[in-house]
């Protein structure tokens, strides 16, 4: 047995340049197939959960899909906000039961910060179930809190954010304005305290850092008005456990600030719940008819389905493209192996002289194609995992796509098996050539060189 391993290995070594290109080509195709498959599956998972329990999303008039994407998935940017008083106007409509404001624009280490009211945690649902806290509690409404000044800096983490940085209750976090680039100013002087961590939902809120509206406003006190204190070098970034340095006091709004100044001026969007869903069309019309700048009330289910259909189109296109890339790769493999077979006529003649029939030689060539295909697929798996590991964060930030690393799914294995079979089919060409050549040449192949 050791002899045959040596035989295959040394035979391949003598053609290692051509064969490694073949292996690499198969590896690329395999990695591409698996990555596209993964993105399909994960895109479906990421975008099948937006938000449940909310009947309408209100924003400035524009594209409904854009509003859904930036308000719930934090993809793209809002161009305008809506005035704070719109919340009261909407709340006063007879068919409206509750209104939750949503403020966006800040980030914590690449994860979006949501400014909202504690109602979010009681009204929002995922899979028909209300949100659950894995640890801790919601932040309090500052107007109702026992210590309003401290309540302003309370913060709740989504499950993925907590897991990513290993945060626990009591940790202090610093929030940056804007997209979280190093150049953005950060509010290093106003660390927030984690009071709650949500259980995993599969919805975008897993990737959210949630604070109160007052907290959001407190962040921007003095922003753009020259009173901003700026970045203090030497101030530690990131979190630290609530340490002895701050003692029991913790960060709180300075007494110089009047809490009533922390009222919001504008919101990114409003989440609306109705008394009865049967009145959804009336509610939409009533909201869009409110005086003031033009508003849009979006039905999240309808808009999500539209988004979904666009994604389905893209993923089908991606799949077809990937299949064509794989096909191209396989064709070139067949070509490379066929050419290299022509160069092996001497070898074939030697083996024929030793009693191997052309059929057996064909089998030998096929066996080699099998090992090459297998090596390519193993390489592809490795490339795929490596690529995922390197790109996971970027994909999450840019596209809201949450990728699962680890063992490939059944479909992925099926795809790989298909690729291996296709490589074998491609290997039939050189194998058959080996058959023909060895039969024709017999003991007298043409001289080389």
């Amino acid at each position: 047995m050791g002899f045959w391993l040596r035989f295959f290995w040394q035979s391949a070594q003598s053609r290692r340049l051509a064969l490694s290109m073949v292996v690499f080509s198969i590896g690329l195709s395999a990695a591409l197939l698996m990555t596209v498959q993964q993105i399909r599956t994960d895109a479906r998972a990421s975008f099948s959960q937006a938000i449940g329990g909310v009947d309408l999303i209100v924003g400035p008039r524009g594209s409904a899909t854009d509003l859904l994407l930036y308000s719930l998935f934090q993809l793209g940017r809002p161009t305008r906000n809506i005035d704070a008083q719109v919340l009261d106007q909407v709340q006063n409509l007879p068919m409206v039961d509750w209104v939750i404001p949503l403020q966006l624009g800040d980030s914590y280490r690449g994860f979006a910060v949501w400014g909202t009211s504690p109602l979010l945690f009681t009204r929002m649902k995922t899979q028909g179930q209300p949100l659950r806290f894995a640890q801790g509690r919601s932040f309090e409404e500052a107007s109702r809190a026992a210590d309003p000044r401290r309540a302003v800096y309370e913060l709740v983490l989504g499950a993925q954010v907590a897991a990513r940085f290993g945060h626990a209750l009591g940790d202090r976090l610093v929030v940056t304005h804007g997209s979280g680039n190093a150049l953005d100013q950060d509010h290093a002087d106003q660390p927030f305290t984690v009071v709650g961590i949500l259980a995993t939902t599969g919805a975008p809120i897993d990737r959210a850092v949630v604070i109160s509206v007052q907290g959001f406003e407190a962040l921007h006190q003095g922003w753009g008005q020259g009173a901003f204190s700026g970045f203090r070098p030497g101030m530690a970034l990131g979190s630290g456990r609530s340490g002895a340095s701050s003692g029991t006091t913790g960060p709180s709004v300075s007494n110089a600030v009047d809490l009533s100044d922390l009222r919001a001026q504008s919101y990114t969007a409003l989440l609306v719940g109705l008394a009865s869903r049967l009145q959804i069309f009336q509610a939409r019309d009533a909201i869009e008819a409110l005086p003031g700048p033009a508003l849009m009330a979006v039905m999240p289910g309808v808009t999500l389905d539209e988004l979904w259909q666009s994604i389905a189109l893209i993923e089908n296109t991606l799949t077809i493209l990937t299949a064509m890339v794989a096909l191209t790769g396989l064709l070139s493999i067949a070509a490379v192996l066929m050419v290299s077979m022509s160069g092996r006529r001497r070898e074939l003649a030697v083996l024929r002289a030793l009693g191997m029939s052309p059929r057996r030689l064909m089998g030998l060539a096929l066996a080699e194609s099998f090992w090459v295909g297998l090596a390519g697929i193993v390489l592809g798996l490795a490339l795929h995992q490596l690529g995922l590991w390197m790109l996971a964060d970027w994909l999450r930030l840019q596209f809201g796509l949450s990728l699962q690393l680890g063992v490939p799914t059944i479909t992925s294995w099926a795809l790989l098996l298909g690729l291996l079979l296709a490589a074998l089919v491609a290997g039939l060409f050189p194998a058959f050539r080996a058959y023909r050549l060895s039969l024709a040449d017999g003991l007298n192949p043409p001289h080389l060189g």
């Binding site: 099948s48 959960q49 937006a50 938000i51 449940g52 329990g53 909310v54 009947d55 859904l68 719930l72 007879p94 068919m95 649902k125 995922t126 899979q127 028909g128 919805a203 008394a275 009865s276 869903r277 049967l278 009145q279 959804i280 069309f281 009336q282 008819a289 039905m299 999240p300 289910g301 309808v302 808009t303 999500l304 389905d305 539209e306 979904w308």
Partner: protein, 202 residues
Amino acid sequence: MTTSFFRRLATGIAAAFLVSGFSSVALAQTGTKPATGATTAIKEISWDDLISEKWVKEMQAEMTLMGRLGFLEDGTEAANKAMSKLRDKWNAAPIVTTYLNQRVRLPGYVVPLDGERHLRREFLLVPYFGACIHYPPPPANQMMLVQPTANSRIRAVPESMAAVWVEGTLREARLATSQGVTGYTLEAESVRPYEEPTPRGR
């Protein structure tokens, strides 16, 4: 806004009449499987059965009246009042009680409500395609809130604008408005894709 709304309303009402004819031709009574193993039989109904003749005649009268007021200027107070009166009547369309608390089956189009694509998402069932985008929404007695339960037989996620058959128990929904208006809800037993009826004689 007013004239365009008026036109949309007129189209909507015309659509409502068309629907009654439409439903008997396209979404026709095609022999579907009878209910199996149920306590009471499922009755197949049409959207016509959920609307009262009396209300239709009232709306027709209103529309004729509106037509005579066509000389009203857009944006004048009189025009606005007439429009909102019409709109209120539309939204307060009374329900028909004949089939309440019975098991029924009828076809319609899906308008999903939750921003979640899971099997048991709630949706509105409406009689015509494009109810939320291209045409004004249907009157209160020509739509129903479909509420699946944990036991509902649903094999595919109900998609926006998909045509489906729903089966379940029809109920009255009390809406918390000043006029004490009501609407229809359906405790769904099953939601199935709507197949084209095979033409007769084939």
